[in-house]
Amino acid sequence: MGGPISRPMNRVLIFFSFLTLGSFVQAGNLRVASLSTVMADLAREVGGDRVEVIEIVKAGVDPHIYEPTPGDRKTIAKSQILLANGLGFEGYLNNLRPGLEKNGVRLVVGGDVVKPLQAVCSGEEAHDHSHSHSHGATDPHWWHSIPNVQAVATQIRDAFAKADPEGIATYEANAKDLNARLAALSKWVRLQLATLPKANRILVTSHEALGYFAVDNGFEIFTVQGVSTTDQPSSQNVKRLIEEIKSRKVKAIFAENIENPKVLEQITNETGAKLGGVLYADGLGSGPAATYEGMMKTNVSVIVEALK
């Protein structure tokens, strides 16, 4: 029988409406903290409106020397998922693990699903071992290979689907769209690089961050430092690099958005190679490089323009 709803019943309905609304808001906001600017971008793409992405490590910060603050740890503890590059990139990651387990935060490590690359030391034969990275170390900068990024996008899709099963259709559709755009980006990169003679495909950078890009696209790579920005360049290594640049007639060398290009400037002065521009080595930047696609396009355009 329909009739006017009594005042107490009205209050009960309002109470349940709030409950329903509350659970909807919660389901619509999967909280994801990220130690990786690249994975944060992928998470926003895959998660869309259902996911709130909090960047712990932000663009422009040197992630090799970053240490989470107590505030960061609190933010991570309030999240359902934490994204990390892995492969040793976040040296503090193992220290975070007990807190993650205690607070039920699921850890998603991109490096777990990529094909790892062994770091190569420049001037291996005449090595003086005065810098700090260990031989046989894995290169953690996996995002410079687009197939790796596609694998991690799929990994993020699956993690989101597990944490928020109601959003599976959204995550699947967004990840499919993202992977198609990454495939188009891959073709764009190959078309741009086809204008660059193979003999010119030599990358000289501050630290060894572009190894995956080099392998994918047929570049040789020479670096002042090892796989970390904390590796100290030795004078012998710099001397060897200068000889290599001169003998190979390398046209340009590249600075990185976060590094101090002082050593590279010294090398340009002694070799006559020009400073080819700034590359985004350790993650995303600002402006056009604020997205993965934009970062990759910026790097490729800078490389082609300087070396062709």
């Binding site: 073709k187 190959r190 078309l191 086809a194 193979k198 003999a199």
Partner: protein, 95 residues
Amino acid sequence: MAAYDILLTASAPARLAVRVANQPSAESTGPATSLSASFTMNAAEPEDLAVFANFDPAGGNCALRVEVRVAGKTISDSSFWGTGLVEDVVAIPNP
């Protein structure tokens, strides 16, 4: 050095082009179903080919075939499909 003969074949008339780093590109003067070009390259490290076929977008799915020959022998044969602009890169195998 070796002469690489390139043959582009399109499934429908299209503006065809093939580009090699540091060399003048070869382009059809208008819509065509084939284009031949020859590039002299270092046989130890031949450059990649950037190939383009701009089809009428209303023509649906179209194909571009790219054959690479050296001294009459086919060393690479690949096909690309798409609608409108079909573009890709062909890596020539080292001998």
